[in-house]
C-alpha cells in the first residue's frame, strides 16, 4: 500500500502544510486566517470551493461577453474587419 503511495510521491505532513498555506495565500479573503487546526482546514476548503466556483462563473461571464462582442458587431465596421482577420487568417 505504501508502495502505491510512493509511486505518487510520498506526501509528508510538511508538504501538506505547505499546500495548505499556499492555498491560504492564494485565496483572496484569507488574510486573517491563522492556525493549523482542524477548523481552519475546513474553512479553507470551503473558501477554496467558493473561489473556484467564482472563477468558473467569471469564465462563463467572459465567454458571454466575447460571444456578445462577436454577435453584435456590424459586418461593415472596421472593428469587425480586425476581429475577423484575427480569427480567420
Amino acid at each position: 500500500m505504501s508502495s502505491r503511495r510512493s509511486s505518487r510521491g510520498n506526501i509528508s505532513e510538511d508538504e501538506i502544510n505547505e499546500l495548505i498555506s499556499k492555498l491560504q495565500s492564494l485565496l483572496p479573503a484569507s488574510s486573517h486566517r491563522r492556525g493549523s487546526g482542524q477548523a481552519s482546514t475546513t474553512k479553507l476548503l470551503k473558501e477554496t470551493c467558493s473561489y473556484i466556483k467564482s472563477l468558473h462563473r467569471e469564465v462563463d461571464d467572459l465567454s458571454d461577453r466575447l460571444s456578445d462582442l462577436m454577435s453584435t458587431m456590424d459586418h461593415n465596421s472596421p472593428g469587425a474587419e480586425i476581429i475577423r482577420s484575427i480569427l480567420r487568417s
Partner: protein
C-alpha cells in the same frame, strides 16, 4: 493611412520582442498595446497592423508552458490556444446562435487551458477527456457529463477512493489523519465535484490538484480578459 510615431515605436518594440523571444518584453508589449488601443490617437489601419502583428507574434513564437513558475508564459500559451481554437470554431459566422457560440467559446477556452497546462496534473487530463467527449454541462455538474475514459484514466493513476484512512508511513498517516475527519471529508467531497477528475483522487493529491487548478483558472480568466480588452478596443474608434 500613415502610421503614427507611436505605432512605429510599438512595432519596433514588438520586432525586438520577437527576436529576443523574451516573456518580459512581451509583457511590456501587452501594457503598451492595451494603452495604445485604448487611446484615441491610433487609426484603424494601425489598429489592424498592431493587433495582427502582435497576435501573429504570439502565435508564432510562444513556446509551450514550462510550468507554473512563469505565469506570463502560461497565460500567453492559453491565449494562443484560445485564438487557434476560436478560429476552428468559426465563431464569427452570423448563422450561429448566441448560446451555441457562447458554449463554443467556453469549450475553446477550457481546451486552451488544458492544452496549455499539459498532461502533468490529473485535472488537466480529465478536463481534456471531458471536452473530447462533448461535455455539455459545467464542471460542477454530475458525473454523467464526464467521459468514461477520464474516470478510467484517473482510476488507473490512483485506484482507491480515500473515504477512510489507509495504512501508510507514519508521516502520511498522521497527515491523512488530519485530513480525514468528517467535516473535512464533506468539504473534500465538494471539492471533488468541482475539480475535474477529482473523484479518483485521494485527499492529499486533491489538495495539490486544487491549488494547481485554481492558479490555472486565474490564468485562464486573465487571458480571456486580455482577449476581450484587445478585441473590444477597436470598437471605440467606430463611434468617432
Amino acid at each position: 493611412m500613415p502610421l503614427t510615431c507611436q505605432v512605429i515605436s510599438i512595432r519596433n518594440c514588438m520586432l525586438l520582442a520577437s527576436t529576443h523571444l523574451h516573456a518580459k518584453f512581451i509583457s511590456i508589449d501587452l501594457v503598451l498595446l492595451s494603452d495604445f488601443l485604448l487611446s484615441d490617437s491610433c487609426s484603424i489601419a494601425s489598429h489592424y497592423f498592431i493587433t495582427n502583428r502582435y497576435l501573429s507574434c504570439i502565435l508564432r513564437y510562444s513556446s509551450p508552458s514550462l510550468g507554473m513558475q512563469d505565469s506570463t508564459k502560461f497565460k500567453h500559451a492559453i491565449l494562443k490556444n484560445l485564438l487557434l481554437g476560436l478560429r476552428k470554431c468559426g465563431v464569427t459566422s452570423r448563422v450561429v446562435g448566441f448560446s451555441e457560440r457562447k458554449s463554443a467559446i467556453r469549450h475553446a477556452a477550457d481546451a486552451a487551458l488544458a492544452d496549455a497546462r499539459g498532461a502533468a496534473p490529473c485535472w488537466s487530463r480529465s478536463l481534456a477527456a471531458e471536452l473530447s467527449h462533448g461535455r455539455h454541462l459545467g464542471p460542477s455538474k454530475g458525473t454523467s457529463s464526464e467521459g468514461k475514459s477520464s474516470k478510467m484514466m484517473c482510476k488507473r493513476i490512483s485506484r482507491r477512493r480515500s473515504l477512510r484512512p489507509r495504512r501508510k508511513s507514519k508521516a502520511t498517516a498522521k497527515a491523512a489523519g488530519v485530513l480525514a475527519r468528517d467535516m473535512v471529508r464533506r468539504r473534500a467531497r465538494a471539492l471533488r465535484e468541482i475539480v475535474p477528475g477529482g473523484r479518483g483522487m485521494d485527499e492529499c493529491t486533491l489538495l495539490g490538484e486544487t491549488l494547481d487548478y485554481a492558479v490555472s483558472l486565474e490564468a485562464q480568466v486573465n487571458a480571456m480578459q486580455l482577449l476581450l480588452q484587445t478585441l473590444h478596443a477597436p470598437k471605440k474608434n467606430t463611434t468617432r
